[in-house]
Subunit: 321 residues, 2 copies
């Protein structure tokens, strides 16, 4: 094939999403040149998605482009950062113009929505793999971290859990359910909504935060380990959508909510004295926040079942290997 890397980048990616005035040089040189924001710290995140591992090979180019950036925006949200720039390392088996066009639309459309500019990248030939590295800003010292949860803090999650994992099962034909529920769930898998505005709102309120990518149980455990604490999570309080209930019965719905992964919701903890501050968020935004449990001093994650029995229940997170 005669299309060079440079023409590819020019043709599909040069529009670069949003146009930001802190970009001195964007795509087209050996590197981008960017102007830092005074008084702020730079937050850097990176995530790779591999065809056949992180998404089905049948997924549309637009959905792949969207996902590659969305998972990184979710990490920026978990740090409380305001998105700024990203770079793209795209490995594709061949230079398929239709595919590249769709991919660029999915990625750059989302970038534009979050005022983010694509400032560089590398296009290579090989098995379909996409790495996005994303940058954002937080006022110095105000980033959200995994460490910081204290005994007595409320444990919160955004939105509903388990929908994306069930949506993937619908997509690959492992679950059957009514058309409306199925399409609501698959949409949650295909177009996760990163909780970027909420992440910034939580600065100064949350004592810790993480995004739920490997499943609530696995990700909450990372927070608890980093914080040297434990938690009790009330299974009856897990936010489970009507669509998930329609497609996965009883325990299966709870398993998806705890261990399914790909939710890209935020899980965060809030000290008792600051929980009332969440009211301002609830009043102005549609993303529901649910208090699902409490941080405790004793390490480990435990679940409160119906009737109040506290159990140790092993929930495997997404296994990377």
């Amino acid at each position: 094939m005669s299309v060079s890397e440079f023409e590819l980048i020019d043709r599909y990616f040069r529009r670069g999403g949003a146009r930001r005035d802190d970009v001195a040089i964007g795509i087209g040189d050996d590197g981008a040149v960017l102007r830092p924001r005074p008084g702020h710290e730079l937050v850097l995140v990176t995530d790779t998605i591999v065809a056949g591992v992180h998404f089905p090979v049948t997924m549309s180019a637009g959905d792949v482009g969207y996902r590659a950036l969305a998972v990184n925006l979710s990490d920026l949200a978990a740090m409380g950062a305001e998105p700024a720039w990203c770079s793209l390392a795209l490995t594709v088996p061949q230079a398929d113009e239709t595919w590249l066009h769709g991919f660029a639309d999915g990625l750059l459309g989302l970038a534009e929505r979050f005022d983010m500019q694509l400032v560089g990248g590398d296009t290579t030939r090989g098995p379909l793999t996409v790495t996005v590295t994303a940058h954002g800003w937080v006022p110095a010292g105000q980033s959200l971290r995994r460490a910081g949860a204290g005994a007595g803090d409320g444990v919160y999650v955004t939105g509903t859990l388990g929908d994306a994992a069930a949506g993937l099962r619908v997509l690959v034909g492992e679950t059957e359910c009514d058309a409306d529920s199925g399409s609501a769930l698959t949409r949650r898998f295909l177009r996760p909504e990163p909780r970027v505005a909420l992440g910034q709102f939580l600065r100064g309120i949350a004592s810790s935060a993480i995004d739920v990518s490997d499943g609530l149980a696995a990700d909450l455990r990372h927070v608890l380990e980093a914080s040297g604490r434990g938690a009790e999570v009330d299974l009856a309080r897990l936010p489970i959508s009507a669509s998930l209930r329609a497609c996965e019965r009883g325990d299966a719905a709870i398993e998806r909510a705890l261990g399914g992964g790909d939710d890209y919701e935020l899980c965060f903890t809030v000290p008792p004295g600051r929980e009332s501050a969440l009211g301002a968020w609830r009043a102005q935004d549609g993303v529901p926040l649910t208090r699902i449990g409490t941080v405790v001093a004793r390490p480990g994650l435990r679940f409160v079942e119906a009737g109040g029995r506290v159990v140790d229940r092993h929930i495997a997170g997404y296994a990377h290997f």
Copy 2:
């Protein structure tokens, strides 16, 4: 396999190369938190290498790790930037501990040498693909660019050209030559030396710069196109090593030097009034600088052959697709 992503990252990468005091949070959270340098601009580069495409599948883990960072350091050098931080997106077919150990040694050893800290990353399962995103600093407004070459400027290259391309041919058995020359050439392919100190030295001296990754002819053409100029390059002045002459005769050596790629030398232009400033570099450092030609007003890259005949000679660069 039961080794989780997190344990992998912990075990092999947490030492992170150099320890820098501008890193508030490194590996281990959803993102890194980094402190910008006042009065400076951030330079961001990213490069992917794919097994079987950019390097032979037989290459050692240490050489793969070294290469993944070296090609990015070379881009930082071409921008005149001082290296600071990098992130790693590593996709591997399986979690092979010996391989990961060697890879981390190759990458982090080089990072340490250039005072660079690995601050984040993502480890995924799939066909061997490595993306490094690297960050460096330049005093505001002083980055080197591809655009800026003016008619009359000298065209320079560092080191010698074509060695790495010939070294790859030796490695895969396409060229045979004496053991000493062969090993010198393969070393040039396996352990390219990014010209980081020179890149910083050239700030305020060079009118344009690029690193030679796709072959001198292709990369110099990028500079000329970005600058709206042409150049005449004297074939007799191309810096060709004794090892390359020993392994590739006559025209083949020149073809490697012009079109071989993987050199990771710098090509830059210097206005006549500033060429004398290069003397300070020559005096203090072993990397030779060679003036190979002159920028001219008429667009296009032309070559001066023995006897003074100027020819248009088509040299294909590395074809990415």
